[in-house]
Subunit: 138 residues, 4 copies
């Protein structure tokens, strides 16, 4: 299904438009509308996270699977939050280190809580939360 | 294999230590050493990304798979960078929207380039880059 | 008045300590305690902003003072929030552009509201908020 | 002097425009062009910092002026970098704590170096760098 497009005019200072066109070329956007859509979507996704709306997110964890209890604890917490976990990808970085990437979907606050709970597990050495979108608001 | 532990003394203003202990309890760290290890690792991972060292990262993309050519373009670029892509997780968010999470490993600059190239594809509506670690420096 | 110092032991993996020592030398910290104090204070300041506590902050604004009404609007809003504004520094960047730096002190939420209100004024072209501390929690 | 305005058309998915209009109302922008100009300027300022161009910035420092040598060191380093320092604002937060806000202008890399040098001084308890603009590129 093709989304309905609407069109409107924008006025900018000439120099601001020229500098924006340089940025558009550098980032290889196909045209100004495409670049502006990206800026707008980015602002909308930030707003959704700020307001605690429905989000998607990717949590990364680095842990040493030899560390006592870490596998059990990472798995236990994921089960506590299973309602907001979609799937998990596990990568063997080397003999000791695992990278686990957990795809989540839920309320922003719950996703943040899950990320915090996993990151503070003893044996989990680093965690990040990629703040993405369900696609609804963008 | 258990990593060798070393021990050293830290001196802090009493009030700073008390406030840190409050933060440790809130975040449910098991003890001060565990909390400090986390702060140190976080600083080291930032440094590795800043210096352009070897990193791991999770790129998230939101796109509408009905959008003409988006699937082809997302796949083509991943093949151009296949040397630094470990695996890809694809989630059907709804009838239109896909969440794709790409596990990467390589030089920080290449991983950033891949994230930028994928995010600027027409039809990709949002992208994030979770800056993680190969586990080596932490 | 000299603050009371307390001392405690920290245990780290040897490799983590070695990498931390490299970072300490690069950043020219005088010793490990000083570097750890910095990491702890940074975490405490983030926590204070997150919890909505008492903060200090520096708001920067870039605006063209020729732009109709911008000076009036920037000043009016500062008066609405005068309770949390300590002082203002005004720098003439060139014939058109002004950099105004507003030192604030208050509840995190109010300081953020002031920064948002000033940034969205027509004629204000850029705004940032430096999230600092009253010094109490660190 | 009034800058020359140029006008061009933008096409968006209807739903994206509706969500953007909600955000515009919330942030109290006067119209879509004003909101888009802000998003564009923000992207251009980030690009200038990323490319190492000419920037303006506000460095905040929190320090205890009773701490031995801190005043001397903060002042010495400012003199080493005096070429890029425009002015300094000093606020007495309480009996012990000072907030110093340093308005800077120069190459992004030098401003970052100054911020790092000041933040790692023993006795400086927190530092931030507000990444602003000379107004030229926006």
């Amino acid at each position: 299904m093709k989304a309905e497009l609407v069109r409107f005019g924008v006025s900018l200072e000439k120099q601001l438009r020229d500098n924006f066109d340089t940025l558009i070329r550098e980032r290889k956007y196909t045209n100004r509308s495409e670049a502006l859509r990206d800026l707008i979507r980015r602002a909308l996704v930030q707003r959704t996270w700020g307001k605690g709306g429905d989000v998607a997110g990717a949590i990364t964890l680095i842990y040493d699977h030899h560390h006592r209890d870490v596998l059990t604890n990472v798995t236990d917490i994921q089960h506590d939050f299973q309602k907001i976990i979609v799937s998990t990808q596990h990568i063997h970085l080397d003999h000791n280190n695992c990278l686990e990437i957990i795809a989540t979907r839920g309320k922003a606050e719950e996703v943040q809580q899950l990320a915090d709970a996993l990151t503070s597990i003893k044996g989990v050495r680093h965690g990040t939360l990629g703040m993405s979108s369900t696609g609804r608001e963008i």
